[in-house]
């Protein structure tokens, strides 16, 4: 499990690098770069922080991942979680920050 940063979408704002709890994200040619992919905890802080949807979260093959990716965009209190499966289908789950967990 780790993240991939889409260079073409990155605007180099540095929010992801600032917030990563492992300080694992650096810069290459003014774009964010995951310097230590094996050291990622998978907390998705950077994915939430990114304003351009440039960061994709995925499960490594060693923990059963098969190429799907996850992104999240914020719209006020709503978090739109988007899972793009490897076959191209997309599942979106919306979570309202004002709603408590039922469990």
């Amino acid at each position: 499990m780790s993240i991939r940063i889409r260079e073409e979408k990155c605007v180099g704002c540095g929010r992801c690098a600032d917030v990563c709890p492992g300080t694992l994200i650096g810069f290459r040619e003014k774009k964010a770069h995951m310097d230590y992919p094996k050291d990622c905890w998978g907390c998705v802080s950077c994915v939430k922080e990114c304003r351009t949807g440039a960061i994709e979260y995925f499960l490594g093959a060693d923990i059963g991942g098969n190429g799907s990716t996850m992104t999240v965009t914020e719209d006020g209190n709503i978090l739109h979680w988007k899972i793009r499966k490897h076959d191209g289908t997309v599942k979106t789950i919306d979570v309202n920050r004002q709603d408590s967990n039922k469990y």
Binding site: W41, G60, I63, I83, R97, S100
Partner: protein, 574 residues
């Protein structure tokens, strides 16, 4: 030779090391209830650092209507087989509800029933949306008066003189800068220790672990080196988790009422007992009996329940939701496979950590500990970390004597002590330069970390040994960890991130050394799986006492202490 690090010096009344849950809340308390200046040193960024980076699904330590703080003490003491500090549990439990109410005022969403009371989950838990728990705390702190936050600064060593703390030294993980931080009161809020043992997923996903891989036992290590006493490291914590994603199981077990079943579909949890350690132990045993894999029986839950579970996990462990969706095996259709994690040292779940008095001051004067760093108070969880941060802060305020007042202990004030402290700081900073200029080191920090995890796994009761060990294995572990400590003195670092890795390795090795000494000193099996000594497989009433330790001349000295029965505990002897 590399250019030497720039040195910056900062002063504050209180230095807080670690800006996680406990550290941030202590700072907030100091800001609201005193005029003291506060410096928070955080090795990442307080917005998402610590245990709550991804979020938290419930408040698991809360006093529900009709129950009392003493009920909580009784529950936690029973779960820990009596090796707890009742004074610490009670003082934390008395504040669970007030800190929860404060978090609600800061914006935390808590589920309420039709009468406006918090909705209960089980006997001690309430339901929240904790996805943004840490950002809420961090933004309150950004606005707090007299608090400065040093993000991306890693603290390595405490400055002490005559058994009293006077500050700490560290370095920036981004810039070539070292820090000397002077303060007459210091709070250790660095969390517990992960990464000591070979993890569940040692390859690409090595850091997909239960506990933050960035909590490396720094506070325990700097405390040990400064002469602080530690307690109950031998009560390791092993979490029962969803296989592969290492996501929490409590949400499924308590929230959806799923039972633990083996591959034959038999419910096995009653067979082994229901304490935290027995739930792990039962799963290990069922696998050894050939009855694995083990699962939480979720199949058959309603579509609505399933949708709620997918959302709940997005708020704390999104990898599990991704796994359900991408595999197509949703919890309503397939049971969720479970496994035990590698062992951790973590005071929020077990009783490991600093030996503190009721006010959370350690045996080093002016040095406090809270949250996962503080021992004796298991199952304190998030509200306990907040409560301990507050308890420590209130005691600091009570004891503070303003600069210039009689009997003041202004750091670096007296000429002689000041000279000694400056010399001490220079010695620590020289160590940074030595590591940065290490020529041709035989091994990297990463290689030695892997070697350490292998030793701990094979000889000190890791996953590979089903958490079991014996005396001969512990002796082998001790010998090999000593070798690795020796080798860790010759590791180099070409940038600040590597310097951080070198210190994290050294911290973990010292915690391993102390842990092994603790495991060797409890010659019984007090807790299944958490401390399973095959040479002493039964519980022994002679060990109804604390195993404590101090670090002296490179060795761990064990101190056995009688159980504390009093309502208030003060440090008396050493």
């Amino acid at each position: 030779m590399r250019k030497e690090l720039d040195i910056k010096t900062k002063k504050a009344d209180v230095l807080i090391i670690g800006g996680g849950t406990a550290g941030c809340y202590a700072a907030l308390t100091l800001s609201e209830q005193s005029q003291l200046s506060v410096l928070v040193a955080e090795k990442a960024h307080i917005k998402r650092s610590g245990c709550l980076a991804a979020g938290v699904n419930a408040i698991n330590a809360y006093i529900l209507p009709g129950r009392t703080p003493q009920d909580y003490v009784d529950y936690a003491a029973k779960d820990a087989e009596g090796i707890v500090r009742n004074d610490l549990l009670l003082t934390a439990a008395e504040r669970f509800n007030e800190v929860t109410a404060h978090m609600e005022r800061l914006g935390l969403v808590i589920l309420k029933d039709e009468n406006g009371n918090y909705a209960a989950r089980g006997n001690r838990n309430i339901k929240i949306n904790g996805e943004n728990f840490k950002p809420l705390l961090a933004s309150a702190l950004q606005e707090a008066d007299r608090v400065s936050v040093l993000n991306h600064v890693n603290i390595t060593d405490l400055l002490t003189d005559g058994g009293k703390v006077y500050g700490a030294v560290g370095f920036s993980v981004l810039e070539e800068t070292a820090y000397i931080l002077e303060a007459q009161t210091v709070l250790i809020a660095t969390g517990g220790a992960s990464g000591l043992y070979r993890p569940n997923n040692p390859g690409f996903s090595r850091h997909k672990m239960w506990y933050p891989p960035f909590n490396t036992g720094a506070g325990y290590a700097m405390g040990l080196r400064a002469g602080a006493e530690m307690t109950t490291f031998e009560m390791r914590f092993i979490a029962l988790r969803c296989k592969d994603t290492i996501a929490p199981t409590g949400t499924i077990a308590q929230g959806a009422g799923a039972k633990q079943v083996n591959a034959k579909g038999e419910v096995y949890e009653e067979k082994y007992g229901l304490t935290t350690s027995e739930r792990v132990y039962g799963t290990v045993k069922e696998n050894l009996l050939g009855n694995g894999p083990c699962y939480l029986r979720t199949s058959g839950i309603t579509k609505e329940q399933e949708d709620d579970l997918l959302k709940a996990y997005l708020n704390m462990a999104p990898g599990q939701t991704l796994k359900w969706v991408e595999s197509g095996k949703t919890p309503g259709e397939s049971d969720v496979e479970i496994e035990g994690t590698e062992p951790y040292i973590v005071g929020g779940h077990t009783a490991s950590g600093y030996w503190v008095n009721t006010n959370r001051e350690s045996t080093v004067k002016g040095l406090y500990a809270a949250g996962d760093a503080a021992g004796g108070c298991p199952q304190k969880y998030v509200t306990g970390a907040l409560a301990e941060g507050k308890i420590a802060a209130l005691d600091m305020i009570r004891h503070y004597r303003p600069a210039g007042a009689a009997e003041t202990e202004e750091p670096f004030a007296s000429q002689e002590a000041g000279a000694r402290l400056r010399k001490q700081a220079r010695r620590y900073l020289a160590e940074y330069e030595k590591i940065r200029n290490e020529a041709d080191p035989p091994f990297s920090a990463e290689e030695l970390e892997e070697a350490m995890q292998k030793v701990m796994d094979a000889y000190a009761g890791g996953i590979g040994c089903h958490y079991e060990f014996n005396e001969k294995q512990l002796a082998a572990a001790d010998e090999r960890i000593a070798q690795l400590i020796e080798l860790s003195g010759h590791v180099g670092a070409s940038d600040m991130h590597e310097l951080l890795s070198v210190y994290e390795l050294k911290e973990r090795l010292l915690v391993c050394q102390a842990l092994i000494a603790h495991l060797r000193s409890r010659k019984e099996t007090r807790w299944h799986s958490f401390q399973e000594n095959m040479d002493y497989p039964k519980r022994d009433s002679a060990y109804e006492k604390y195993i404590n330790s101090v670090f002296e001349d490179g060795k761990i000295r064990i101190i056995e202490r009688e159980l504390v029965k009093e309502a208030v505990y003060e440090h008396k002897d050493s």
